[in-house]
């Protein structure tokens, strides 16, 4: 190979063992020895070791990225295992960071893993980002999405973005010098409560795999400087129709983060920006509530209580209290099925949707409606421990 005058970070030399390990890369012209050394010299930060973070980190580790940072403060639980493939059943209860680091080290002992056991915040983001070349965003909430974007723009690091909902995903590369940033696309987040999260809306288990691998592909291409990165393009992934569509993104000259007259010159309070104050409280916190023990006692005593289940039919099939099923969205047009003279207890999975139902019914003139605090999950925890939780 010809000597070059490139001033890239010193490309690590590969040992014979590494050469053997990466041979399928080394024999392709798009990677070769030079590309593999670039991968080894690269430092990539994954925000989150969850749905997107799992395939991302696994493939980057296998591909020979030299330094992989992971930011996560969560603990593995059973509901993660349907999609977060870096964790296994035996890891339930462990820190995701420890579980992930163990799998990654087992895949590639040459990998340098940096663990950040913290919630990414305006206080620590810039400091952490400075030690990396590329940031891959695998978080699950709007405040962190905007935080990652702004911190990427401020530190000049590309933001390899992916997000998912049910069976639909989005991917792009934001915050490169020439390309748009996340705020160019979405100047403002949705008000809280208007867009359901994966915990509320569900997600097809393979979808984060599909989208996370697209993110990993983009990371590798950026490191190699090969191919056409998703800069200025938003890839829409529809797993149900198995359709991939592409939209053009433009750098917005008026963007507050990366435009010509920038107003975001330091990190801000992203919870406030997203309309979330302190701990997330259910929107309708003021509605009359009934505890699960009280409901059980009164049902056993034969009180005249009408149990209204405002979940979806497929949730009713998982478990139910034998209540009358009217999904929250259908309540306005099916309100005639309810008798306002009777005492009504509304419930859902966790108590958020039913609080909305109670508020709606109160506005419609119902006087004797209660929200079952904690929903059917609380019932499963405290009344009937044999009931499945989901």
């Amino acid at each position: 190979m010809a000597t070059t005058t490139e001033v890239k970070p010193e490309p690590g030399t590969l040992s014979n063992e590494e050469i053997l390990r990466y041979s399928r890369h080394l024999i392709m012209p798009e990677v070769g020895m030079e590309g593999q050394q670039k991968l080894k010299a690269a430092r990539v930060l994954c925000i989150g070791a969850g749905g997107l973070g799992s395939p991302l980190a696994l493939y980057l580790a296998a591909a020979g990225v030299g330094t992989l940072g992971i930011v996560d403060f969560d603990v593995v639980d059973y509901t993660n295992l349907q999609r977060q493939i870096i964790h296994s059943t035996a890891d339930v209860g462990r820190k995701k960071l420890d579980s992930a680091a163990e799998k990654l080290a087992a895949i590639n002992p040459f990998l340098n893993i940096r663990k950040f056991e913290t919630r990414l915040s305006s206080e620590n983001a810039l400091e952490i980002f400075r030690e990396f070349d590329i940031i891959a965003d695998g978080t699950d909430n709007f405040p962190t999405r905007y935080l990652v974007n702004d911190a990427c723009v401020l530190t000049g690091k590309p933001n390899v973005y992916g997000s998912i909902f049910r069976f639909e995903g989005q991917a792009s590369v934001f915050a490169t010098e020439a390309g748009p940033c996340y705020r160019c696309l979405y100047p403002e987040p949705p008000p809280p409560g208007l867009v359901p999260s994966c915990a509320e809306g569900g997600v097809l288990g393979i979808l984060p795999g599909l989208v996370g691998v697209i993110q990993a592909t983009e990371v590798i291409k950026l490191i190699l400087g090969k191919g056409e990165p998703l800069i200025g393009r938003l890839l829409l992934i529809d797993a149900l129709g198995m359709k991939f569509r592409e939209l053009k993104l433009r750098k917005n000259p008026e963007c507050p983060a990366c435009g010509t007259h920038r107003t975001i010159t330091k990190l801000i309070d992203y919870n406030e920006f997203c309309g979330i104050r302190g701990e997330e409280k259910p929107v309708d916190a003021g509605v009359p509530e009934i505890q699960v023990e009280e409901l059980k006692r009164r049902l056993d005593a034969g009180d005249d209580l009408f149990v209204l289940d405002v979940r979806e039919p497929h949730e009713y099939q998982i478990c139910n209290l034998g209540g009358h099923l009217i999904p929250l969205g259908d309540l306005p047009k099916r309100i005639h099925e309810l008798d306002s003279s009777r005492e009504i207890v509304a419930h859902c999975r966790s108590g958020v949707r039913s609080a909305k139902a109670v508020t709606f019914l109160q506005q419609a003139g119902f006087k004797k409606v209660h929200n079952l605090a904690g929903g059917i999950l609380a019932w499963a925890d405290r009344v009937d421990t044999k009931m499945p939780k989901y």
Binding site: G48, G50, G51, L52, G53, D74, N80, Q84, D137, G138, T139, D140, N141, F142, R145, G162, S163, I164, F165, R166, F167, E168, Q170, L185, Y186, P187, E188, P189, P190, L194, V195, P196, S197, C198, G201, V203, P208, L234, L236, G241, R245, E246, L247, K248, L249, R250, G329
Partner: protein, 91 residues
């Protein structure tokens, strides 16, 4: 007819359909037709003063209407309008 792609999070307000066909000559007309047919969509697409919400982008084919003629952007037979709201899931 112009096809309007409805994104997953908004399908529950549009009769669970992935796409709706409308007859329109501009983006504004097409969206008005959509909202007239599915009134529950209105508050998800527009603010109280009738402006398109900042976390909802509208595309004609692969172009953002903010960089075309916004609501006045012409559409015709065979054009596809996409409503693309921000989603944040990742875990």
């Amino acid at each position: 007819m112009t096809k309007i792609h409805i994104p997953t999070p908004l399908r529950q307000y549009a009769g669970k359909q992935p796409a709706v066909e409308v007859k329109a000559t501009t983006v504004g007309e097409a969206l008005a037709g959509l909202v007239a047919r599915h009134p529950d969509l209105r508050r998800h697409l527009y603010t109280d003063d009738g402006k398109l919400r900042a976390f909802v982008n509208v595309y004609v084919n692969d172009e953002d209407v903010r960089y075309l003629q916004k609501d006045a952007t012409a559409v015709g037979d065979g054009d596809t309008i996409s409503i693309v709201p921000s989603i944040a899931g990742g875990r």
